[in-house]
Symmetry: D2
Subunit: 337 residues, 4 copies
C-alpha cells in the first residue's frame, strides 16, 4: 500500500498516521522523491480498507498494491478449480452447457424443453422458480412447485438442475431440490445472502452484477469461500453501458482476465447479455473461442407465450443448430462441448 502525502501537510499529522499504522503491525518504508512525500506500507494489507486513510487531512492518495482477495486468487491456488457434480465437470477442458426456460411454467413445458436440450447436448437444466422482476406487477414465478418440477424432469433425463435463489429463507429448499444455486446479478452484493451461502454444501453460480467490476465480483466469491463453500462458478451476463441496441453489453474480456487472476471456472450467459435471441448464437461462439468454461442459454419451445424473457429465448431447433456449430468450434480450439 502506497500513501502519498499532500504538498503542505502538517508533519505532526503525518507522524500520527505512521504511528497508527505501526501500531497495527505494519512496516513503513521511508519516503522518497524531491517534491513528493511517499510511504510504502508493508504487511498483510489485503484486509485493509485503504479508503479509511483519506480521513487524515495530510493524505493526498492511497494506492493498493496487493489484491484484496485471497481464496479466489490464482496466486494462492495456481491450478484451475474443477467442480464435479455427479458425473458433470465444470471447469477443465469441457465446455459445459446449461439450457432451459427462463421461468418454469408447468411440468409439460419443462418436460418438452428438457427433452430437446438434453438431446442437443445440454447437461444442466436451467429454469427460474423464483423470478427477480423489476415490476411488482410482473410474473413472480411458481415457487417451490417450480423447483419440484425441475428436479423431477432433470432426474428423468439424467440432468443437473440450476435455479436462482432470491431469498435466504429458501436455502434449505434449494439444497434439497437443486444441484447448483444461482445468485442473480442484482444480489451479487447481497452480503447477508452471500454469508449464508458460505455455509451451504451446494455449489453456487455467481452472476456478475450489471455494474460491478471484476474485483468486486471476485470479492463476492471470496465472501462465499471465506464462509467455507469453495465451489463457486463465475457467470458473466453482460454489463450496463449506454448502448441501447443490446439489453446489456457482454464483457467478453472477463474470460481471459478472470482466468489470469483466479482459478475459478467462468461461464457466459449470452441470453441476458444480448436480450434478443438473434444475437445469442454469435455471442455463444465468441465465448467459446475466448475460452469460456460453459454457457447458460435460455430455450423455449413457444417463446411468444413465455411468461418471461421470451425475447431472448432460442427455439429448440435454433439451439440445436447452435450446439452443432459450437461443437465444431470447440474442436478448433482444442475443447469439447
Amino acid at each position: 500500500m502506497i500513501i502519498k502525502i499532500k504538498k503542505n501537510a502538517v508533519q505532526s499529522e503525518v507522524a500520527n498516521l505512521l504511528d497508527n499504522l505501526k501500531a497495527q503491525g505494519y512496516d513503513i518504508h521511508s519516503s522518497f522523491g524531491e517534491t513528493v512525500q511517499i510511504y510504502g506500507v508493508v504487511g498483510d494489507t489485503a484486509k485493509f480498507d485503504t479508503r479509511s486513510l483519506y480521513a487524515y487531512e495530510c493524505v493526498e492518495s492511497v494506492i493498493r498494491i496487493q489484491e484484496p482477495f485471497k481464496k479466489v486468487n490464482r496466486k494462492i491456488k495456481s491450478e484451475d478449480t474443477i467442480i464435479t457434480i455427479k458425473d458433470v465437470k465444470i471447469g477443465g477442458n469441457n465446455v459445459v452447457i446449461m439450457a432451459g426456460p427462463c421461468s418454469v411454467e408447468s411440468l409439460e413445458q419443462v418436460e418438452i424443453i428438457a427433452e430437446k436440450v438434453k438431446a442437443s447436448g445440454a447437461k444442466i437444466l436451467r429454469g427460474g422458480a423464483f423470478k427477480p422482476r423489476t415490476s411488482p406487477y410482473a410474473y413472480q414465478g411458481m415457487g417451490l412447485e417450480g423447483l419440484k418440477i425441475l428436479r423431477q424432469v432433470a432426474d428423468k433425463h439424467d440432468m443437473l438442475v440450476v435455479s436462482e435463489l432470491m431469498d435466504a429463507e429458501h436455502i434449505d429448499m434449494f439444497e434439497e431440490y437443486v444441484d447448483i444455486i444461482q445468485i442473480g446479478a442484482r444480489n451479487m452484493q447481497n452480503f447477508a445472502l452471500l454469508k449464508k451461502l458460505g455455509k451451504c454444501n451446494t455449489p453456487v453460480l455467481l452472476k456478475r452484477g450489471f455494474a460491478n467490476t471484476i474485483e468486486e465480483w471476485l470479492m463476492s466469491a471470496e465472501y462465499i469461500m471465506a464462509g467455507g463453500n469453495d465451489e463457486v462458478i463465475l457467470c458473466e451476463r453482460g454489463i450496463r453501458t449506454f448502448e441501447p441496441m443490446t439489453r446489456n453489453t457482454l464483457d467478453i474480456s472477463t474470460i481471459p482476465v478472470v482466468k489470469k487472476i483466479s482459478h475459478l471456472p467462468v461461464i457466459i450467459d449470452p441470453s441476458h447479455a444480448a436480450g434478443k435471441w438473434d444475437l445469442v448464437e454469435s455471442l455463444s461462439m465468441a465465448s467459446i473461442a475466448a475460452g469460456a468454461d460453459g454457457l447458460i442459454i435460455e430455450v423455449h419451445h413457444e417463446p411468444e407465450k413465455a411468461l418471461s424473457d421470451g425475447a431472448q429465448s432460442l427455439k429448440p431447433k435454433k439451439f440445436d443448430d447452435l450446439m452443432k456449430k459450437a461443437r465444431v468450434l470447440a474442436e478448433a480450439v482444442n475443447r469439447t462441448v
Copy 2:
C-alpha cells in the same frame, strides 16, 4: 405501447401477435405509414412486460408509452407526500438533516457525535449497525447492540433513528429500534426484501442503486408501496461513472426529475456520492439549491479512527459550519433547514 413490425415480416405471424394481444383485453389501433407497419396497443399496459413481444420474429421494436409505475406516480397523486414521524416532517418546505457516524462503534462514540449534530440542527441520527462491506474481511458492524445504542442515544436527544437493514431476518428487530429503515444501494433490487418491507409499518429510506435508472428506482419504491407501505423516502447517493476523482458521481438532476414525475420526498447523501469529506459541503449546498427535501451526512469526531468511511466523514466543527451556511442558503430559496 407501440409495436413496429419488421420490413419483411410474415403477416400471419403479425395477425397471431395481434390476436394474442386482443385476447388479453387490449385494443389495437390500425397501422400507419407507407414504409412502416405500426400498431398502437391501448389498455392498462403499465403492468405489461414490453420486452416479451420481441419473442415474435415479426417484431422490430416495442416502445412503452405509459409509465410502468403507478403508486409512486405524480399523475396518480399530485400533491407532495409528507411523511411525519413523531414531530419530524420529511417532505414539504423543511429540509430535514440526518447525521451521524458511518458505523456505530460504541455508546460513547454515538453519544459524542449525536450531541454535536443535534446541537447543529440535525433531527435524525444515522449510524450503521449492520454494514455492507465489499470485503468479507472488513468490519461488519456491531449488530443488534448497535441498534440499541442508536435508540438509547436518540431518545436522550429527542432524535429519530435511521439505520440500514441488510437481512430480512432482522425486520422485527429494526421495527423495534429504528424510526426509518434504510435500504442500501446494493439492495435496491433485492426484491425478496422489498416485498417484506411492503408489509412493515416503518417508513423506508430507499437508496438508488449505483447503476440504476430513475425508473428502476421508482419501480423498487413501487414494490414497497404495492405491498401496502406508503412511506417511502427516496435517497440519491451517487451513481457509478468512469470518473475516478470522486467515489461516485452525484446525479443532482434526480432532484428536479423525480419531483416532476413522483410525489415522494427526495433526499441526498453527499457523503457517499463524494467519498471525500472536503467535497461534502459543496455537494450539500448544491442539493439544497436544487430542491432536495433533506440530506444524510456522515459525521465523526475522530474520522482517522473510524471503523468505516472515515474518508468521507465530516468533523463536528465542519458539520456545524455547513449547517450554518445551509440555513442561509435555504432561506434564499424559501426553504428552512
Copy 3:
C-alpha cells in the same frame, strides 16, 4: 415518429404543434387511448430532429420510429458491401488482417515488423505517423516522413497501408501515401473532418468513439457516405466502462448488431480494446467466431522500446501463433483468414 402529449396540456398549443408539423408536409394520425393523447407523425422523419419538439410545453415525449440513417442502412442496400483495394477485399468471406506497430519509429523498425506480419498472413500494414496523445508532452509521431516509410515498406512487401489522419490539412498527403485513412475514436464526431472525408476517393476506416452508441457511429459513417464516399469500414475498438482491468471494454455484440442493420464491413481492434498484449489472442479469437470481417492488431518486435502502446503490442512470434490459431478457427466457422 410518435408524440405523447402531457396530461393537462393546453389544447390550443397542441393544435399549434400539429399545424406546424402539417406545414412541414407530415401526415398526422389521430390520437388514441383513454388516458393518453398520442399522435403518429408520418413522412420522411429520418432527417427530423425529434428532440426539437420538446420545446413545446405540451409535449411529454417524442419517440423516433424510423432509423435516422439512410445510406448505411441495410434496408436500403441489402447485400454486404465489399471494398476492394488492389487485390485485397474487405468484407465478404475473408477475414482481413491489418498489423504493424502503433507508431512508425524508423524505416528499419517498420521493415522488420512488416516482413514478419506479412509472412504470418497480414495483408495490410498499420502504423501511426501522426499520433493522438492525451498528453501534449508525449511522443506525437514522425509525421509525413512516417507516411513515406509506410508506403515504401508496404510496396516492397505488396501490402496496403492504413494510417490515422488527425488533421484535415493532411488529407491530400494521406490520399497520396495511404490506401485506407483511419479515423480514430476521438475524432468519430469531428464533423468538419467527416465532411471533408466525404469528398475523398480513399476508403475510410472509422473507429467507434469510446463512448458512442452504435447509432451515432453509423451516423458518422452516414456523414462520409452522404458526401459521396461509399467506402467506409467500421472498426470497434472497445468502449469505456467502469472496469479498470482492461483499457476499454470490447463490445463484441457490435458485430452481430451492426451486420443486422448495416451492410458495411465491421472489423475489430483487440489491441486497443484490451490494452494489454496477453488479452489480444483471446479477443481476436472471439471476434472471428462472432463474425468479424477483419482484425487490426498492434505488433512490435521490441515492445519495451516502442514509443507508444508497447503494453498492447504482440511480438511477431506471438502474432504468428495467433494467426495459425485464427486460421483453424476461421475454417470452423466457414471463413478464411
Copy 4:
C-alpha cells in the same frame, strides 16, 4: 511512479527494465515487501507514459503518483486564474452569465434575444454559427454570416461573444469576430485543433467531453496552455450515463474537484446537461451553490421554431426569473451574479 513486479518474473528482465529507466535519468528506489517486489521511480514522471512499461512481461502494474498535468495544476500556480476580456472578468467572485440562442438563425432573432438577456444581466452573448450535428441532414448553421451577426448585436449591447469553433480552418475568422472561442465536447480531444488554439490570442472555453475524465479534460487544457495560450475556461456540460431521463448527467462534483486541483475558472452549461428547459433552473441554482464561476444558458424567444435545441432553451421570461433567483442565491453564498 510505482512499479509492481509479477510473482514469478524473470529477474534478468527486471534488471533490464531498471537499467532502461536509469538510462532515462530516473532514480530507482529499492524494492520492499516479503511477497511483493516493488520499485519507486523518482524524477519528472509527469511526461512519462506509464502504460508503456506494461510491454515488459515482468511488470504486473504501474501506478502514477505525480499528476500528468503541469500548467493547469494548482500546485504550480496557487491563486485562481481570472480572465479579463474588456471589462468582463471570468473567475473570481463574480458568477458570469453567458446566454443566447443555440443557433444563430437571423439578425432579428439574435437582436431580440440579446436585448432580453442583456437586460436580465447576461454579459456574454452565446450563439452557434457552425453547429455540430449528429446527423449530416440536420441544420448545420449560418457560418461566417452568423459570426458577423453575433458581433454586430453584441457590440450594440456592449456584450462579449462566445461561439463554437469546429474547424481549424476557421481560426482566423473566429479571432476576428468572437471574444471567446468555444470548443465543444466532441472536439475536446481533437488534438490537432487544440495545438492550433495554443497559438491563438483568444481565450478558449473548453467543454468537457461527454465521456472524458476530469484528468483528460485538464490534459486538453494543458495542450492549449503548453502552446502558449493561458486563457482557458473549463465548462462542464454533463456526461453520458445510462440514465435516459436527462440528455446527459450533470457532474456537479467537477466544481469542487477542479477548483481543488486547478486554478482555472469552471463554468456550467445546464442546458446541454439537462436537455430539457424545465430542469435548467434547478441545475443552475445547484451550480451557483456548488461554487461555479459562471453559467452558459440557451435562451430563445420562440423555442418551438428554433432550428436546434429548442427543447432545452428557456424563454426570456423564464431566464429573467432564473436570473432574479440566481442573484438572491449568489448573495447567500457571498458571490455576485
